[in-house]
């Protein structure tokens, strides 16, 4: 009797354990009634307001998701906040900022590769070159979001004075571009030929145009190659722009201001300016595709969207929002409002987008450049690499170092950092 009682108790206890575990698991699996997520984004102005509008439209029809949207300022400020929040264990769930793929990449989190297999997403519709921009060490950790390239804006009045019709006969190569700048400067004394508000960004495009991929990636090993012969040639050309009096040395911070003041013929600036500049100057603004050395190439810039949360339901909520804002129609609207480039091929097929491209010379140039847009492998020290490039260009322009010495020095610094 005693033995039988003991056996029954053991069986009952074991069953209770099984049921309890099952119930606990069922409890973990159960979706909460409302999922609360935090989204930090570094899209400012009208673009940021439009993004908020899109997200709020989605949330209005999905009461089971509540999102707290926070604009976190510039890319640098946003990354400062995100890094500090991650260290404190208080990171937001979804971030939209430049180089956001570094965060999951360094954690070895490639969940995005599974998420994009969602049949409601159409991953194949994304522009291939733009997808590369969202990868870390060759693997997908994020999605491209606000993508831009550098556009060569020019002052049409200055070009007209030099007898040039750049809409019909734009310069294609850098040598042709130098000739055009010199003609414009000859016809407009006191004017600079060319400058850029982001020398590092342009320099990377120029490296690729000359057959240099900036860095070489073999698995997780990164080797800088921008100081090889092809890279040095680009550095020497950069120096020649200063020596010929076409580009002012070490004044890139003022490039856009000079252009808007009418004292600079060409400026290479983000395509995002398409939404801001027209109508703000006394002269008409035109645009040409970026000149090239051997083959056309423009380096992509902008922000990527990354899901940081490991919580299953929060991750799902973030994914639902991303799918919504990156759908063709919403992407098209966002692109037209913000001046950022469409990340989907289908956006360029929409009638209203085609009509806008036809009517807007600036937007047409920016979208035409998408066919040869590219991105190099993203890696952890790429922010530092940009800083080393910045110092190298500064040394080249000031004559403190030869292009070869400056690039070799930057390469040495990057290797030490890696």
């Amino acid at each position: 009797m005693k033995k039988a009682f003991l056996v029954i108790m053991v069986v009952l206890f074991a069953s209770a354990m099984v049921f309890a575990t099952g119930a606990a698991e069922a409890q973990q699996e159960a979706r909460p009634d409302v999922v609360n997520i935090r989204i930090w984004y570094s899209i400012g102005g009208a673009s940021g307001q439009f993004f908020e509008q899109q997200v709020n439209t989605f949330l209005a029809s999905h009461p089971e998701i509540k999102a707290e949207l926070t604009y976190t300022g510039s890319y640098a400020d946003s990354n400062t906040k995100i890094a500090a929040a991650r260290l404190a264990g208080d990171a937001p769930d979804l971030i939209i900022v430049s180089a956001s793929q570094i965060y999951p990449g360094e954690d070895g989190n490639y969940e995005m590769e599974e998420l994009v297999k969602d049949k409601d997403f159409d991953f194949g519709d994304l522009q291939p070159g733009i997808v590369e921009y969202a990868k870390y060490n060759g693997r997908l950790t994020s999605l491209p979001f606000s993508i831009s390239t550098q556009v060569f804006y020019y002052n049409k009045d200055l070009a007209k004075k030099a007898g040039l019709d750049l809409e019909k006969n734009p310069p294609k190569t850098w040598d042709q571009f130098v000739e055009v700048c010199q003609k414009i400067q000859a016809a407009n004394p006191g004017v600079w030929g060319f400058d850029t508000s982001d020398g590092v960004w342009l320099f990377k495009s120029m490296l690729k145009q000359n057959g240099n991929q900036v860095v070489e990636a073999k698995g997780e090993d990164i080797t800088p190659i921008f100081d090889n012969a092809a890279g040095v040639k680009v550095g020497e050309f950069w120096k020649s722009l200063v020596d010929k009096g076409i580009m002012p040395a070490q004044q890139h911070d003022n490039a856009e201001k000079k252009f808007l003041a009418g004292t600079l013929a060409f400026v290479a600036a983000t395509s995002n300016r398409i939404a801001k500049w027209p109508g703000s100057t006394e002269f008409e603004i035109g645009a040409i595709e970026m000149p090239y050395f051997v083959e056309p190439a423009v380096f992509l810039g902008g922000s990527t969207a990354t899901i940081l949360t490991q919580d299953k339901w929060k991750s799902d909520a973030c994914w639902q929002i991303l799918k919504y804002v990156l759908a063709t129609d919403n992407q098209a609207e966002y692109s037209l409002v913000s001046g950022y480039l469409p990340i989907r091929k289908s956006v360029l097929q929409k009638a209203d987008v085609k009509a806008y491209i036809n009517d807007s010379e600036l937007y047409r140039v920016a979208t035409d450049q998408l066919s040869y847009a590219w991105a190099y492998t993203h890696f952890g020290a790429m922010g530092s690499m940009d800083t080393f490039f910045w110092y190298a260009l500064d040394d080249i322009e000031s004559g403190k170092m030869t292009p070869e010495a400056a690039l070799k020095n930057a390469s040495k610094q990057l290797i030490a950092e890696l």
Partner: protein, 273 residues
């Protein structure tokens, strides 16, 4: 050179210096009334082609400027008051009191001046985060109220108060607080005013800590808001100038209030303001 001619030369040099110093402010005020085309015209225009008062309204429509302004006033005033109070007490202790470990403590406080703020940023953030101080006024204010610089600035002025005054007060039976309240502080009014101005200026323009500790517009301060204005109106310098004019008003008002004391303390010590 006769004294009269010498005075004219000095006046001319000072006038050139004054014009150089005041030029950016005049340009800022005039630009705040310009249109976007006036801002980018070359050669630059001194006066606006048409006086545009909409720039000031635009500041409020582009960012929640009023909220940021209020937050800056709340946090800067609170930080300044607490910092000055702590510095006065601390300076009194290290100047007039003797206690075990005084030298060691003074050296320790002084050594904190050599630690860059960025080094303490992350540990401070971790502590404030654990104490649920993110997006709170306390989280912005409290970590920034301690300043060895302000303490030693006040202490350097306290040290110039004659010891005989303190000794006489002690003989008359005054306690520590009475001596501090009735002898030390009244004799160091100008230095405390100087320290207040410096402290307020530092807190008013503080950027990095409020940037990291706040996520909601409800708590963000003016320097962060001004930075957003740079992003959102990248080609509208006339709007940024309007925001800048409004941003420097509290500092100007404080300077006007404390001007006499500031000049007096500079004269007494030869210290640059």
């Amino acid at each position: 050179m006769s004294k009269k001619r010498y005075n004219w030369v000095v006046f001319a040099v000072l006038a050139v210096g004054a014009v150089t110093m005041i030029f950016p402010f005049v340009w800022m005020i005039l630009s705040s009334f310009k249109t976007v085309r006036d801002v980018y015209t070359y050669p630059p225009k001194w006066l606006p082609s048409e006086w545009n008062f909409n720039n000031y309204a635009s500041v409020f429509s582009l960012i929640p400027f009023g909220r940021y302004y209020l937050n800056s006033i709340i946090t800067s005033v609170a930080q300044t008051v607490i910092q000055i109070a702590l510095s006065v007490f601390g300076a009194y202790c290290i100047t007039f009191l003797s206690f075990p470990g005084k030298k060691f403590l003074t050296t320790l406080i002084r050594s904190t001046m050599f630690v860059p703020m960025v080094v303490t940023l992350v540990p401070m953030y971790l502590i404030v985060s654990k104490l649920h101080g993110i997006d709170t006024y306390a989280g912005i204010i409290l970590p920034q109220v301690l300043s060895a610089f302000t303490l030693f600035l006040v202490a350097s002025f306290f040290a110039s108060i004659p010891k005989d005054l303190i000794d006489s007060a002690r003989i008359d039976g005054c306690g520590y607080f009475t001596i501090m309240g009735k002898i030390v502080i009244p004799n160091a009014k100008s230095s405390i005013a100087t320290a207040t101005l410096f402290a307020f200026l530092g807190h008013w323009k503080s950027y990095t800590w409020p940037l990291i500790i706040t996520n909601k517009d409800k708590f963000r301060t003016l320097p962060i808001g001004m930075k957003y204005l740079v992003q959102e109106s990248s080609s509208e310098y006339q709007v940024m100038m309007a925001a800048a004019v409004m941003a420097i008003l509290p500092v100007l008002i404080l300077f006007v209030i404390f001007e006499k004391q500031l000049v007096k303390s500079v004269t007494l010590t030869g210290m640059k303001a």
